[in-house]
């Protein structure tokens, strides 16, 4: 039953422009359809929505009386009193959307309750509102608008080209489709249907429907349940990054949200792993008690206020770090004996949610793997679900798992990380190559490794045309194609993860004074000397700086450094931090500082550059510990051997031996890959020396 909100409630609702562009209309209409319990929503637009927009749902519909009322301001059926505002469970709550839309466009609404024979039609054009009339209609509601802003030419001017507006609409549809995988969405532009997304049972499937089967190949599931909230989703491995934040999707209570807090927490989870200015691909869904959030912040409802920001922040950050730890542990990249120094800082101190997260993540992964869509896939694309990619990488991971579980009793949460571990643990045969795979859903190691198609699929970025051809259910090319072109450098042929069990590596030489070539038990390692050394130094600096300030060379006479006025304040803030890195720096009046000592690994030039670089990085907000890690990166980067530096064999051996001891060695602190592995088999295959 729709009623008009009394002014005292209406006044408490964030006021402002509801309709800015066609996409806002689509957003509001989809919201209403979702609130109406629709299981199918069809969106059709013409000319980017500038000419017309129609949203059809099969939801509960409205009675003739409600239909007449719904276009009034503050007419809503979704909240009754002020208390309801405290815990909003529906998408709508203001009773504003239809009123706003019908005042800026030619508006028609047809609606029919399931139980009635006839529908009701409302037509509004400007101030003129025709009497509601009885019409024939399907169950549910259809809203059609034409000529958006026809009566406010000034606003119409601000609209962009149809193609741009169409992309905004498409994004809106995508967000909603991602949030409601159980609703059948279709989208058509200028009469051409470009999306058809039948309902599916898991979010993973919806993601694949939208972005292609391969999207999940390089992503790992995350899951965290705390008393306050539950968080789940998928995050890309650090090797898969984009240069914009456009592939970061957060949903709170099934609503797509743009939130800086969430963004920052998430990026923190990637700290040390990806390069500044790069962004991962992320789908995160948060479910939280509606009374813990306030959506009544902005008329577009894309902003949110969490009443317990810190809990949300640490949940997001913790979930991502846990996911890494699970992923890396499974990779055998975190040797157990390393625990105290290297991994302590990655552990979430809250042990309970952590193991819960891991269990849940595993369950989620299994659900995904067991979904019908998954099973219908052939071997080569079975790798679409992260926990079980049938690739060399996976094989090596499993290998190292086997190894680790043999040599060290597994840490308490380990068994739940990956059920396959349990199969492997009792296996008495340490040699991975003879390790049988009982799991029938995974390809046998040999065939996976040399299966030609699988190699091609994995190393060549998926053909974008394949993602639209014959698949109505894909987004149009332009909108998302760069999402699919993910970086697969470390896949398949190249695999850095097996350094752990590569045994002694023999240095073969240096290529172009930039790459170390080394021979391992079963293949060739190509190591980016700068990235690898940087990673190594970072870990060393980190460990060292935990105990004492880094080695510092006092200067015979202080040197002065000038900063921009806005930097100077920052420098003052971080002098203690700089001190722990070996910088003795003091204010000298104005924005000038004197430097009395510098890290002994740097020259004066490098030291000066370091401080400047570093300030650039910490300009954005962050915590002291973040500063420190950033500083250590910058320091490691400055101190590391450069691309083009000739290295002696012992120097190269030093780098390799160092690398074998640290976790995450396969990426430099900026997230670039540092090591490539070319297996003997892949060489044999390349030279056609095998029968396959």
């Amino acid at each position: 039953m729709i009623h008009i909100l009394p002014p005292e409630i209406a006044n408490r609702i964030a006021a402002g422009e509801v309709v800015e562009r066609p996409a806002s209309v689509v957003r509001e209409l989809i919201d209403n359809a979702v609130d109406a319990g629709a299981s199918r929503i069809d969106i059709e637009i013409e000319k980017g929505g500038l000419q017309s927009i129609r949203v059809t749902d099969n939801g509960c519909g409205m009675s003739p009386d409600d239909a007449a009322l719904c276009v009034q301001r503050h007419a809503t059926s979704k909240i009754q009193n002020a208390n309801d505002l405290e815990a909003i469970t529906t998408k709508g709550f203001r009773g504003e959307a239809l009123a706003a839309i019908s005042s800026v466009a030619k508006f028609e609404l047809k609606t029919r309750l399931p139980e009635s024979e006839w529908g009701t039609q409302i037509v509004i054009e400007g101030a003129k509102e025709r009497e509601p009339s009885q019409v024939g209609a399907a169950i549910g509601t259809v809203v059609t608008i034409c000529d958006l802003f026809y009566n406010t030419p000034a606003r119409r001017k601000f609209l962009k080209k149809p193609a741009t507006e169409m992309n905004h609409v498409l994004s809106t549809v995508t967000w909603n489709a991602l949030a409601h995988e159980d609703i059948h969405f279709t989208f058509a532009h200028n009469g051409r249907r470009s999306l058809d997304l039948p309902p599916v049972t898991s979010r993973a499937e919806r993601i694949q429907q939208l972005f292609g089967k391969n999207i999940l190949d390089e992503m790992i599931p995350v899951q965290l349940d705390t008393p306050a909230l539950s968080l789940s989703g998928f995050i890309s491995r650090p090797t898969v990054t984009r240069n914009g934040a456009q592939h970061i999707f957060f949903f709170v209570n099934d609503r797509f949200i743009k939130d800086r807090l969430l963004h920052r927490a998430m990026m923190n989870g990637y700290r040390n792993l990806i390069h500044a200015g790069r962004y991962p691909v992320v789908f995160i869904y948060i479910d939280i008690d509606p009374s813990e959030i306030d959506i009544n912040v902005h008329p577009t409802k894309q902003e949110i206020k969490f009443s317990r920001e810190d809990a949300v922040f640490s949940a997001m950050y913790g979930a991502i770090r846990n996911a890494w730890d699970a992923d890396y542990k499974r990779d055998g990249l975190l040797p157990e004996d390393q625990e105290p120094a290297q991994t302590a800082r990655q552990e979430n101190h809250d042990a309970a949610p952590q193991s819960a997260a891991k269990t849940a993540a595993t369950e989620k992964a299994q659900n995904d793997a067991a979904s019908p869509e998954k099973q219908s896939q052939d071997q080569t694309s079975a790798s679409a679900v992260p926990p079980k990619p049938a690739s060399i990488q996976q094989l090596n991971r499993e290998r190292s798992e086997g190894k680790i579980s043999l040599e060290n009793p597994p840490a308490p949460p380990a068994p739940s990380v990956h059920p396959q571990d349990q199969e492997n643990q009792p296996n008495p045969i340490p040699d991975a190559s003879t390790e049988p795979r009982q799991d029938s859903s995974a390809a046998s190691p040999i065939t996976t490794q040399i299966e030609p198609e699988s190699h091609i699929q994995n190393t060549i970025p998926p053909d974008t045309s394949a993602n639209i051809s014959g698949a109505e259910s894909r987004l149009p090319l332009g909108a998302i194609q760069d999402l699919i072109r993910i970086d697969k450098k470390t896949e398949s042929l190249f695999d850095a993860d097996s350094l752990e069990d590569s045994g002694e590596l023999t240095v073969l030489g240096q290529f172009m004074h930039s790459y170390i070539l080394a021979q391992g038990k079963d293949g060739l390692y190509v190591i980016d000397q700068h990235a690898a050394h940087e990673r190594l130094l970072f870990e060393q600096f980190y460990t060292q700086s935990q105990n004492a300030p880094l080695a510092s060379q006092t200067l015979l006479f202080p040197i002065t450094l000038d900063f921009a006025p806005d930097e100077a304040g920052l420098v003052e803030e971080i002098t203690d931090l700089l001190d722990s890195l070996g910088f003795g720096i003091e204010p000298f009046g104005g924005s000038t500082f004197v430097v009395r000592s510098i890290p002994s690994s740097l020259s004066l030039d490098e030291a000066e550059m370091f401080v400047k670089d570093f300030l650039g990085e910490v300009r954005h907000e962050g915590s002291a510990s973040e500063y420190k890690e950033k500083a250590l990166h910058t320091l490691a980067c400055r101190a590391a051997v450069k691309f083009g530096d000739p290295l002696s064999v012992p120097e190269m051996e030093g780098i390799i031996r160092g690398l074998q001891k640290i976790p995450r060695r396969n990426v430099c602190p900026h997230g670039r890959p540092a090591i490539l592995f070319v297996s003997e088999q892949s060489l044999q295959k390349a030279f056609k020396r095998t029968g396959f």
Partner: protein, 369 residues
């Protein structure tokens, strides 16, 4: 222009000036070597506009004249000439070279546009033996800084005051100073920064025997000895006040055998961190223990030598490169370390040596906050 010359005259001249040849980017003409003949002499000259070198030689002139020749081409030709008399003849820009049975024809360019050689006329003159000035430069040049942002440290400061010449260089962590007194020096005060590159050439080109004249001008300095002239622009003198850097006499003085100390540091340095280059010197009753640790690999090394130290156990950290480079520059048998405090700069010198000092700043001790 036409002349006959001994092959050595040519190669000596070309070699002397070749490092002053300029880069064609600044001005294409300075990529050449200027060759001119008059009054029984041949002059070779090259300049990069910061540094000019001229070298003369004796020869038999048939027809005086001048020309400029591409430096790379002429250097190569001259290097490989057979041992014989060389005849060079030019006609406009065409150059004919004959030496034994070797004949060549190359293109030169008119010398009109080449920057002329202008000797410094005014200035204060110092006369120092070649051997001495070369030694002074050798012992101070390795502590100049190569850092681009600290160009005021990219050379050696020549400071003349009260008939004393101090040659000082520093890279911020160590400082070398060579100080000589001579009543024949001018009594005025002069303070000049000479770029490292110029001084390298001085050491390379000046013969070991003979006297050098150093003339300090307003913006340029000229080194001349016999038939060689080197003129260099001075660097802007922003050199720190070195008097305040050089510590007063310390109460701790430790003598060590130079070559034992050197070898020991070298052995330890093989095991020190590549990143920090740190070695730890622990002095205790007649003994110096040198320790290095390479955290990266878990390697470590220890060595011991005799040192006439008495007193409480004392530990100082140094960048081993800084000690090695100093010890390497000496021939003396014994060296002395003089210090007051492990946080303060200390002085290394050869025992009995009063002219040359090496000031070195220890690394920050670990307990210091």
């Amino acid at each position: 222009m036409k002349f006959h010359a001994l092959n050595q005259v040519l190669s000596r001249g070309v070699n002397a000036v070749k490092n002053a040849v300029g880069s064609p980017i600044s001005n294409p003409i300075v990529e050449n070597i200027h060759v001119s003949c008059k009054e029984g002499k041949i002059f070779f000259m090259a300049t990069n506009l910061n540094l000019t070198i001229r070298c003369e030689g004796e020869l038999e002139i048939e027809e005086p004249g001048e020309i400029i020749l591409n430096s790379e081409e002429i250097t190569k030709i001259v290097q490989d000439l057979p041992l014989s008399e060389v005849i060079i003849e030019t006609e406009e820009e065409n150059v004919k070279i004959k030496c034994g049975r070797f004949k060549a024809k190359i293109k030169g360019q008119s010398a009109d546009l080449f920057p002329p050689f202008i000797a410094l006329e005014e200035g204060s003159d110092l006369h120092i033996e070649n051997k001495k000035i070369k030694n002074i430069i050798r012992k101070t040049i390795f502590t100049t800084s190569a850092e681009k942002s600290r160009y005021e440290l990219n050379g050696i400061k020549f400071h003349l005051k009260d008939k004393r010449l101090n040659c000082v260089s520093t890279d911020g962590r160590r400082l070398a100073i060579y100080s000589i007194q001579n009543d024949a020096f001018p009594s005025e005060e002069k303070s000049i920064m000479i770029p490292e590159k110029t001084l390298e050439e001085v050491v390379r080109i000046l013969p070991d025997e003979g006297m050098a004249t150093i003339r300090f001008g307003e913006r340029k300095t000229q080194f001349s000895s016999g038939d060689i002239q080197i003129i260099s622009n001075n660097l802007t003198d922003n050199f720190p006040n070195y008097d305040r850097i050089i510590p007063p006499e310390g109460n701790i003085k430790i003598k060590m055998n130079r070559s034992a100390f050197y070898s020991s540091i070298k052995r330890a340095s093989n095991l020190s961190s590549k990143d920090t280059n740190m070695v730890i010197l622990t002095f205790e009753d007649g003994n110096l223990e040198i320790t290095a640790e390479r955290e990266e690999t878990g390697s470590e090394g220890h060595d011991q030598i005799e040192a006439d130290y008495k007193g409480e156990k004392m530990q100082v950290r140094f960048n081993h490169n800084f000690i090695r480079e100093f010890l390497q520059s000496l021939e003396d048998e014994e060296v002395e370390l003089e210090m007051r405090d492990i946080r303060k700069p200390c002085i290394f010198r050869a025992v009995g040596e009063n002219e040359y000092k090496y000031v070195l700043m220890p690394m920050r001790p670990p307990d210091e906050e």
